[in-house]
């Protein structure tokens, strides 16, 4: 049974609220470590394939939309700012402020997805979607097709994670609006923040690898 001095939000197998929060935070960091290796396979595939097909990656790389990609990068970086401010607000129990920053983060995430979807749509119209419809008229078609395979797979995996993140952020924003968090208990916001920043880190690496190849 929980001792009288611990608030009811602490599960009975933890010694106190701090123990519970540290456990949750450590658990999230370990989960993020698994995500690094999960995405890492694709980065390894990219590294090896680019090593084998350097020119093809250059040719393929020039077909990505550097303007939209750069705007999207700025959007995600900004969403990390808003998320950081949301966690900060939540840590001192500022309900309205945290809801605002969380909502902004989700909106920026949605904006990213809209732009990304637009890019994909146009790339598929251009025949750059790998598979039977792949239609590229330059040299080293296999290499360019591999570039785009990695492009769609990696940005796709990123988008799936971002979508989950948006849903989580929105849910946490709703909970925050319903006054479920306080300065003493805001662990879900902290964990959401960690996940969100991690998604940003993945994109930080994806951006140059797909948008800044062979621009000079």
């Amino acid at each position: 049974m929980a001792a009288d001095s611990t608030p009811a939000i602490v599960a009975s197998h933890f010694s106190d609220a701090d123990n519970q929060e540290t456990a949750a935070t450590l658990g999230m960091w370990i989960f993020l470590a698994t995500e690094v290796l999960f995405f890492g396979v694709l980065f390894a595939g990219y590294a090896v394939t680019r090593l084998i097909h350097p020119e093809a990656f250059g040719n393929g790389g020039r077909h990505t939309d550097v303007l939209l990609g750069s705007i999207n990068t700025a959007i995600l970086l900004t969403s990390s700012l808003t998320m950081g401010l949301a966690v900060r607000a939540s840590s001192v129990g500022w309900r309205r402020s945290s809801v605002t920053w969380l909502t902004l983060s989700a909106i920026l995430g949605v904006a990213f997805l809209v732009i990304k979807g637009y890019e994909w749509y146009h790339e598929s119209l251009e025949g750059l979607l790998p598979g039977p419809g792949f239609d590229y008229s330059g040299p080293d078609v296999p290499g360019v097709e591999l570039f785009f395979f990695l492009y769609f797979t990696m940005t796709g995996a990123h988008a799936v994670h971002l979508s989950i993140g948006i849903l989580v952020v929105a849910s946490v924003a709703v909970l925050a609006a319903r006054d479920k968090f306080s300065a003493d208990y805001h662990t879900p916001v902290v964990l959401t923040g960690l996940y969100w920043h991690f998604i940003d880190v993945v994109w930080i690496f994806l951006y140059p690898l797909f948008y800044l190849v062979s621009r000079s």
Binding site: W29, V36, A44, V48, G84, S91, V92, H197, F205, Y207
Partner: protein, 114 residues
């Protein structure tokens, strides 16, 4: 007590329930804004340098800038700067073993007879 909680916790004896209530002492916001500006500046640098003909160094700069951005996000936004050693090790562990994967695999490809 995690350092992060000590840094963030405010001496509120009763759970805070009022809506958007009187400002409590919060950690400063300027590190977040400053980091954001630095990240945007680095992105501009990344984008700009891509248009310079630097050969293989373009990739080196790209990855290097990404690493710096990542370190900023992790230390400031993800609070690693004031987290315990365990959190920091957990944060780095994934990258370390990914480096092993990349290093030894690329080591194979780079040393094959051409």
């Amino acid at each position: 007590m995690s350092a992060q909680r000590q840094a963030n916790a405010v001496t509120a004896t009763a759970p805070d329930k009022a809506s958007g209530s009187p400002p409590e002492r919060a950690p400063p916001a300027w590190p977040y804004w400053l980091t954001w500006l630095a990240l945007l500046a680095l992105q501009a640098l990344n984008l700009g340098s891509a248009y310079l003909p630097l050969g293989p160094f373009n990739l080196v700069i790209n990855v290097g800038i990404s690493i710096v951005k990542t370190l900023l996000v992790m230390t400031i936004f993800m609070h690693l700067a004031r987290s315990s050693a365990v959190m920091r090790i957990a944060a780095v562990a994934g990258f370390f073993f990914l480096a092993v994967l990349l290093g030894l695999s690329l080591g194979d490809y780079l040393t094959r007879p051409t």
